[in-house]
Symmetry: C2
Subunit: 131 residues, 2 copies
């Protein structure tokens, strides 16, 4: 990934603060570890929404955005709601205008059943036993 | 964790198959990597529900169950719905009767903003760019 690519990290949103904090913290980690611009947006309840999230790249030099759902698995949100809000075509792509130029939007997969998810979950079980 | 402790991996549930597949796959990974009995249960839509999930330990030799929410962050489901369904006390503990003996139920934290979550998410962004 080069410095012309931005990541829009997408959260579910919640009436509680925890989902927004998660998305903010993970966005910070990704940005620090990879020297890439990461903005955030939320499907429900929290702000910014997806449209404002895309617009938050205004003033940057990016020519491509990866919309990255911070969800564990596909579901109605990732398969219907987000593609609709981002106007994705059948190839899971869209084009938006930022700073007067066309910027391609690509859509990433959710986290999925990665072995590291199993590792983290098991750590949480061990921590509960140690309390 | 010893062989007397079981894990009940808790999923959100979905009208789509992906959440259940995620929970099944992560449960399998945890069981294989750690030689522990892992059962699954769902809050909504999918089966078994939490009560049936607890009962699925019948016939095993466990004397403790860690209820482990496979959620990224706390929210209404992890803070209200699951504790209520599990009858957790203020210490996030409960006791259920399985095989005629008392089994303690402990409640683990959700995954949270672990650096490995940021790593996996970034991999998904790179995969989207490589498509």
């Amino acid at each position: 990934m080069n410095e012309k690519t931005g990541i829009l990290l997408l959260g579910h949103g919640s009436t509680r603060p925890h989902n927004k904090e998660l998305v903010e913290n993970v966005a910070k980690m990704i940005a620090e570890q990879n020297n890439v611009i990461v903005q955030i947006a939320f499907l429900n309840m929290d702000k910014p929404d997806l449209k404002d999230g895309l617009e938050s790249f205004k003033g940057t030099d990016i020519d491509k955005i990866v919309a990255l759902p911070l969800f564990l698995a596909h579901g109605v949100h990732t398969l219907e709601d987000i593609p609709k809000e981002l106007n994705l075509d059948d190839d899971k792509k869209a084009v938006v205008t930022i700073n007067g130029k066309n910027v391609e939007v690509l859509y990433a997969e959710p986290l999925g059943a990665d072995p590291r998810i199993a590792e983290i979950a098991y750590s949480r079980a061990e921590e509960a036993l140690a309390r």
